[in-house]
Amino acid sequence: MLKNHRGWLLLATALLLQALPTGQVFAQSSDSPPPNTQSSYDQSQDPEAIKPVPVLQTSAAFQTVFDAGETHIHPLLTPVLLVPFGSRWLFEARGTFESDLAQQPGVSGFHGVVQKEEEYAQLDFIASPYMTVTVGRFLTPFGIFNERLYPVWIRNLASDPLTLPIGIGPSNASTGAMIRGGFKANEHFNINYAVYYSTLLTVSPMDSNRFAGGRAGIFIPKARLEIGGSYQHLLQDDHSNLFGFHMAWQPPKLPLNLRAETARSSVGSGYWVESVYGLTQVPFAQNQLRHTQVVARMQQFFTGPVPANSVLPVNTNMFEFGVNYYFMDGLRAMSSYGRQFAPQGNGNVWTLALTYRLVTPLGRGEVQ
């Protein structure tokens, strides 16, 4: 226990020290348009001439989960390092330090171990406006949640979707190479794509499966609608095919965000639909409500013919409702209630969480 405390103390100290060198940290905004900051530069200068600087982004969370009568405490720290080289290269890496602290019989207090994971470490080469080549360990682009919505400061509900383990590999990542890009197809829509190959790696917790796959999507900027599909073929075990579809829609001028994903594989299938509504247009109590958003998510999971440890063992339905409140830039309180229905019994899941995200340039951020 003492060792764990010492570990968290070290992490917290490292986090605080990270903010010291520049004297400034920058966090995520809640809902207002970006304010003008102290970091302006000569507007006549071409933005393309700005030399990028390495950036360390850190997100932290403290979650308390009441799951079927048991209390769990989840502290989480996730640093993301971005190191640009020249005009076309970028090295990016993300690690996670987290723990699941729970009460143990006969022992007072909460106990658990700190788990460390290197989630991805990839090198990107921007070959052309249409194509980027990535090598290393990267988040598997199957659906949109794993790549885009997973970070704790982005997600609107603390829990993962039930279908998340489908198609992303044993540790949410792939080891190999990927080609990806996004381009404007015509005046009305953009196309984005990702094609990847992953090799078998059995070194835990950086293990990955051997598979190949791709994802393609269409984004209609005017409607702010994105739809797309994912495909993956396993090159090991049962050599099965996996399919997925995703949708995201933010109606212009509305604080509404609708997202949905479906996945189908031999180990299981399912879908989730999430609606997030910001209360910025409610005509009363504007000071409080404009920082508040209401979240609802429904999801179903069905087991497949091939058993797997990565997914739930039984058919499960889950409904969740949440209310989130942004105190300030990047600092958010989350609360949610979920009801899970499964053959072995139904259960309630209550979650309370605080999330924070800050960005630190590792060098002079201003243009000389």
């Binding site: 995520q28 640009p84 381009f183 900027p221 509504y277 951020g365």
Partner: protein
Amino acid sequence: MKNRKAAFAATFTLLASSLVTAIAQDQKNTPPAPNPASSPNQQLAALAVPANSRPASTDKPSSPPEAARASGIHDNRALRLEGEKRFQANCGRCHMAPPKFPPRAMATILRHMRVRALITDEDRRLILRYMTE
């Protein structure tokens, strides 16, 4: 079973009511449609290219400095508006609008988002210009 139906109905009602409310508010708040001729996408796409790499205009071969300055201001304003639009459309797909970071950090973050979120090169240029002004 009864609980499941009730939870399903409650979730569906919440999803449907948020959608209906949003559409109602959209109809209520929709401003008059802008003049499409005032912001053609082709012009903005050309503006997104760095100024020093753009060919000189052939319409007015010898503009006076005042006109050139006014034209530059107009260009900057159009770019800023378009950059804000692209910013809202692309960044809002996944997360809340972030604040402006220092320009060099912003350049790194946009390079990262180009890879992660697959935004187009044109969108990246416009958003970078908007976020560093």
